[in-house]
């Protein structure tokens, strides 16, 4: 059996014999496991091995991508034929092409936990059961559960291109979560909590996750609507990270060159309050967003996106960089069946000095947001309007829960109006933020 590296270089050789001028191959092979338990017994178990290959070919400035999970030799021959055919049909794009050749010496970012493969099924299920039990036993008002889930995956990524760049790395990830339901009279509230890491030993305890999930569901019990008005709004770290997610999408080189971002043409300008510094760092050891090289074989790095409120850099791959007359920031991502695109690695807002409690204490009347739903974000204009769940702040104290309300503003103003930045940053996911206070937003309710 040939290695995936040999498979990749073999395909590029075959394509070269068809007259292509450049190309690259990505192969991802790995395993995934998912267990759901509910009310302490197994609900769903799923297990799989997967292998997929993506081939991108260029005829000069024309390009196409094909992918397959069928590795028969006829299928691979057809893959090369199809890719060549499609590439010949597309338009000449003066900016198309591989990145300039650069030596690839991927650092070991410690992203792989080999103990995942030896983890016993009983122990995995037991962890999920314990986490759910911790939630169910936390308070008698926790009466039901959507269950607890545990999943992990491990995979090996191989990249190879016609500049002779070849690289590979293994990655793993593991996470578990609990979704308890709290009841009062005739209404129900669900919330959840999770722990997600590269390595089993770094996970939070079942107890911590279960109890946190229970507390989060309980604090929503008895939620009511509030009246419409303009108020200060404090985002907890989870919802602040969602705000940041919109920023990440709007600094993507693709949204920028297409004019589909409110941050297009704003490089070097003040786009946020001076307390705001946002970094993207793909090289943090063991972090969920880290990778040794990006989707076109370029080393990842640390990029300052916003420095003290000034927009310093977009996130770019080689194509969007050429379109904008800039250089790649090593942010290419490659879903196997698609052309490269841009995504953040570990994208976070640098913490300030205030505790979350101190920030809440500064609010006389306002909203503490703990969950947002919906897709009411317009990246082109920055208009922002989403459903929210939260706790009402009265005289610096959290009081009763609120729901069936929206919060709205424009991202330009929201970023400028970040009045306080918390000290509670934790890289729980690939996007992370400390608590943030926005001086004013429109809250719509009754």
């Amino acid at each position: 059996m040939i290695s995936n590296e040999e498979l990749a270089s073999g395909l590029l050789k075959k394509a070269t014999s068809k007259g292509i001028t450049a190309g690259d191959v990505v192969i991802v092979e790995g395993n995934s496991f998912d267990a759901q338990v509910r009310l302490k017994s197994i609900d769903k178990l799923s297990n799989a091995h997967e292998k997929k290959l993506g081939l991108r070919l260029f005829f000069g400035r024309r390009t196409a991508v094909c992918s397959t999970s069928d590795f028969s030799s006829e299928s691979l021959d057809r893959l090369v034929e199809d890719t060549c055919h499609l590439a010949r049909c597309t338009a000449e794009d003066p900016h198309a092409g591989l990145p300039e050749p650069a030596p690839l010496d991927p650092p070991d970012l410690d992203l792989y936990d080999e103990s995942i493969l030896k983890w016993k099924m009983e122990d995995k299920i037991e962890l999920a059961v314990q986490a759910e039990s911790a939630a169910l036993e936390y308070d008698p008002r926790i009466t039901n559960s959507e269950g607890a889930g545990l999943s992990h995956s491990d995979r090996r990524v191989v990249y190879s291109n016609t500049h002779g760049v070849v690289g590979s790395y293994p990655v793993s990830s593991v996470s578990f979560s609990v979704s308890p339901i709290a009841t009062s009279q005739d209404s129900m509230q669900r919330d959840y909590w999770y722990s997600s890491k590269r390595k089993v030993r770094d996970l939070a305890s079942a107890e911590t996750v279960g109890r946190t999930a229970a507390r989060r569901a309980l604090r929503r019990v008895g939620a009511r609507k509030i009246r419409t008005g303009e108020f200060p709004v404090v985002f907890d770290p989870e919802t602040a990270a969602e705000l940041l997610g919109s920023v990440s999408a709007c600094v993507s080189g693709y949204s920028v060159y297409k004019g589909a971002s409110f941050l297009a043409d704003r490089l070097g300008k003040a786009v946020a309050a001076s307390s705001v510094t946002i970094l993207d760092n793909g090289t943090i050891p063991s972090a969920l967003g880290s990778r040794p090289f990006d989707g076109e074989g370029l080393a990842t790095r640390k990029t300052t996106v916003i420095k003290k409120g000034i927009l310093e850099s977009y996130l770019l791959d080689s194509y969007s960089a050429r379109k904008l007359g800039l250089h790649s920031t090593g942010n290419a991502v490659r879903s196997i069946g698609d052309v490269p695109s841009v995504s953040h690695t570990n994208f976070y807002l640098v913490p300030g000095s205030h505790t979350a409690e101190a920030i809440i204490r500064t609010v006389k009347r306002g909203l503490y947001v703990v969950e947002m739903i919906g897709f009411g974000v317009n990246h082109v204009t920055g208009d922002y309007s989403r459903g929210a769940v939260g706790l009402w702040i009265e005289n610096g104290e959290l009081t009763y829960p609120v729901e069936e309300i929206t919060i709205a503003g424009n991202l330009r103003d929201i970023l400028m109006n970040i009045e306080l930045v918390g000290n509670d940053l934790e890289l729980r996911s690939t996007i992370a933020s400390p608590t943030l206070k926005i001086s004013r937003m429109t809250v719509a309710g009754n």
Partner: protein, 480 residues
């Protein structure tokens, strides 16, 4: 319709060098004394997409995905394993893994499977879209680009994409059924960005279904997609701040049916109701909407994006009445939840692919026409919002709170549509919102065919439909 089955069965057996007998043995291996049900789901799918931006079709992609999923069910437990290599060794391995949910070591003997029947073919297709030369699709996108730019000089950017899927499935179950389907799906999307004095606004439209390529060229369809996207972007150039607070809202026909999908549909899926985690738990027979509202989920409408000959467990699709004259009538079921709840499957067991476990999902969800003329509905509102197009929506099943975001909306003042307003999110409570419906138009329209529904990380194509509707008092999340 034995045709699609024979094609599917022959396709898989031949391609992977398998015999029907081996499938029967694999189902047996997944079964044991304590396993109630087992099935195999084979899938072979090709996807192709071309897209245009900056006046160039610079992206063309094609993918092949294949695999098999093996499922074993014991009471409420599901064991699942899948493989993208379809060999007898992997099938047996997957069957062993799926059985892990019971510790019982007994293994069943082969289960004889008989060809099931598919009652009708809802999407008979002469030439699959995948067989139309890619150059024709590229030419279409280039025409779209020119049309959009000609619509108004303020249209500065045009993005368009054409995507098609050809999916062959084969399902073999321990009920003794083997049934297959060939499921085509395509969509065409157009997005325009208009610009004027530094003000940039976006408009989008698209459509599709389980149809032939000629669908897009007939009845000015693609031209209409272009005009709608371009018009929306231009309209939004003059949009004012959306209002904030509770007000009367009129929803236009068609795509605003996403209201039903979020507010009602998800909460009526069998799994949430079996687990008693839905805001609609235990409400069958109760009034959940005003008596002018009748809502159905119908997977049997020819050619539509949400339609299916059979669901992903082999059950023929149905038309299910969810709400009749305001009274909650039924849930959407897959096999597992139907059995546990003592109900019948409704043909709503769906999955994204062989990599996923089926669950109850919607197909095409819509409200039947009422009796009021749409103009009378608008004329009846003194101060409100008229929303005609929406982006996505989301629902919290347990609390019942749902949102959906308008992308084209206008103020209604004294019975007249006046200024366009910026996009805003509408939020409401599922079990309550349809009780506030006071007028239903006589103009039911289905959406144009671009909907995708996400649940538990699985995406499936769906449709929605709505007549013009007046809702009294819903919260509008604007800024003014």
């Amino acid at each position: 319709m034995a045709d699609a089955l024979e094609r599917a069965e022959e396709f898989f057996l031949k391609k992977f060098n398998l015999e029907e007998r081996q499938l029967e043995q694999t189902i047996g291996k997944a079964l044991g004394k304590k396993i109630d049900y087992a099935d195999l789901y084979f899938e072979y799918r090709t996807n192709e997409a071309v897209s245009l931006e900056e006046g160039m079709v610079k992206k063309a992609i094609k993918s092949v995905n294949q695999g098999v999923g093996v499922r074993a069910v014991a009471e409420e437990k599901t064991g699942y394993a899948y493989s993208d290599e379809i060999t007898i060794k992997n099938l047996e391995e997957a069957a062993r893994t799926a059985r892990y949910i019971t510790s019982d070591p007994s293994v069943g003997g082969p289960v004889e499977v008989k060809s099931g029947t598919v009652p009708r073919n809802l999407y008979p297709i002469g030439t699959p879209v995948s067989e139309i030369p890619v150059q024709e699709k590229i030419d279409l996108l280039n025409r779209i680009d020119q049309l959009a730019r000609r619509y108004d000089p303020r249209i500065k950017k045009v993005m368009a994409s054409f995507a098609s899927e050809h999916k062959v499935v084969l399902i073999a179950t321990s009920d003794g059924l083997i049934v297959g389907d060939v499921q085509p799906l395509s969509r065409l999307n157009v997005t325009c960005i208009a610009e004027e004095n530094g003000n940039r606004q976006v408009g989008s439209f698209g459509g599709g279904g389980r149809i032939e390529y000629s669908f897009f060229l007939e009845n000015h369809r693609f031209e209409d997609y272009v005009k709608t996207a371009a018009r929306q972007a231009i309209v939004n150039l003059s949009a004012v701040e959306a209002p904030a607070g509770t007000m009367d809202v009129v929803l236009g026909p068609g795509w605003p049916g996403i209201l039903l999908h979020e507010a009602i549909g998800h909460g009526l899926e069998g799994d949430f109701n079996r687990k008693r985690t839905s805001a609609f738990t235990g409400m069958i027979g109760k009034q959940v909407a005003s008596d002018i509202c009748t809502i159905v989920d119908d997977g049997t409408i020819p050619d539509r994006r949400g339609s299916l000959n059979i669901d992903d467990e082999g059950t023929p699709s149905h038309r299910t009445v969810l709400i009749e004259k305001g009274i909650l009538k039924g849930y959407l079921q897959d096999k597992l939840n139907a059995k546990l709840m003592g109900m019948s499957p409704t043909g709503n067991g769906r999955r994204e692919s062989f990599m996923h476990i089926p669950m109850p999902r919607m197909t095409n969800t819509f409200m039947l026409s009422g009796e009021t003329h749409p103009e009378d509905i608008i004329r009846s509102v003194t101060n409100g919002l008229y929303a005609v197009s929406f982006g996505g929506g989301q629902v919290d099943i347990t609390s019942g709170k749902f949102v959906f975001s308008a992308s084209e909306a206008y103020r209604i003042e004294n019975g007249k549509i006046t200024v366009p307003v910026k996009g805003a999110t509408l939020i409401g409570n599922g079990p309550d919102v349809l009780k506030r419906v006071t007028m239903v138009g006589n103009d039911l329209e289905m959406d144009a065919g671009v909907g995708t529904c996400g649940k538990d990380g699985q995406s499936v194509p769906v449709g929605v439909g709505l007549p013009t509707l007046r809702i009294n008092g819903i919260t509008v999340g604007g800024t003014k």
